[in-house]
């Protein structure tokens, strides 16, 4: 596969390490009363869609950026890739 790195262009997927669903960006608040339930959901449950999936790839043999890649799990077609830190900062601003 080729990952369209937002800064570096198409790079071979072998340079990357895969983590999983991009929902792992949304780490729950440990101090909230339902933290146990929220963390169970965060750590263990997955939508695991057959189709478009937002997921985290780490450019470990590259610039060490964490990327959010939007990829179709049925076709492996990649629709988008963005830097996770920018997305993380953005969602913070929105929140």
């Amino acid at each position: 596969m080729l990952i369209p790195h937002p800064l570096l262009g198409l790079r071979d997927a072998q340079e990357f390490t895969y983590l999983g669903d991009a929902s792992l960006l949304n780490r729950p608040d440990a101090s909230s009363p339902d933290a146990a339930v929220a963390f169970f959901d965060y750590v263990y449950l997955r939508d695991n869609p057959a189709g478009v999936h937002r997921e985290l790839w780490f450019h470990e043999q590259g610039d060490r950026s964490w990327l959010i890649v939007t990829r179709n799990t049925l076709t492996h077609e990649i629709l988008n890739a963005e830097l996770a830190c920018e997305s993380a900062v953005k969602s913070e601003v929105l929140a």
Partner: protein, 184 residues
């Protein structure tokens, strides 16, 4: 100056050199390195007259050169300065940045061609999965090579530097040499 004797990444006294066909592979033991990272909201500094290059670029300056390694991060190179406290020099030039000693973290193999880029291309296409069309002079990138991680810098039409983690030096050297031999 310490009286301890330094050895090369390959455990030798003298730098490695190998020549085959139109290619020369030479270990550069004199290259000083320091990483430089910007803190949040900081602008990129100029280090001893060298400004920080753009994404994926390498830039040679009057005293030092630099290449981009990650967002807001560069490696600063000091040719022939491996025995100096290069990180301290860089830190002095950019006191607000996070600077880390890297000289001994890496082994640098300079690969030269005496016949244009072609022989280098032949070697690189056997080693790294990068599009060499986009690997023009002044490009720096990191990729995988035989299960190792390397930086590649295209310093000129006929000169590429391949930098690997120092403790992998023997394996990297083997990969370069055996591949070059098989090119014949």
């Amino acid at each position: 100056m310490t009286d301890l004797m330094a050895i090369t990444a390959l455990g030798a006294v003298a730098p490695y050199e190998f020549q085959i066909g139109g290619l020369v592979i030479r270990e550069n033991t004199e290259l000083a390195l320091a990483s430089l990272s910007l803190g949040r909201g900081q602008g990129a500094p100029t280090i001893l007259g060298t400004s920080m290059p753009d994404v994926g670029q390498w830039l040679a300056g009057p005293e030092v050169s630099a290449f981009w390694t990650a967002p807001n991060q560069w490696f600063i190179e000091g040719e022939g300065r491996a025995h100096e406290d290069f990180a301290a020099i860089v830190k002095a030039a950019a006191p607000d940045c996070a600077v880390t000693e890297q000289t001994d973290g890496w082994v640098a193999f300079d690969v030269y061609s005496n016949d244009g880029f072609k022989p280098l291309e032949g070697l690189l296409e056997k080693l790294v999965n990068i599009d060499l069309n986009g690997f023009g002079v002044g490009t720096a990138l990191r990729t995988g090579l035989h299960h190792m991680s390397v930086y590649l810098i295209r310093r000129s039409d006929t000169h590429v530097t391949i930098m690997g983690m120092r403790t992998f030096a023997a394996a990297l050297c083997h990969a370069l040499e055996s591949t070059a031999v098989r090119l014949r």
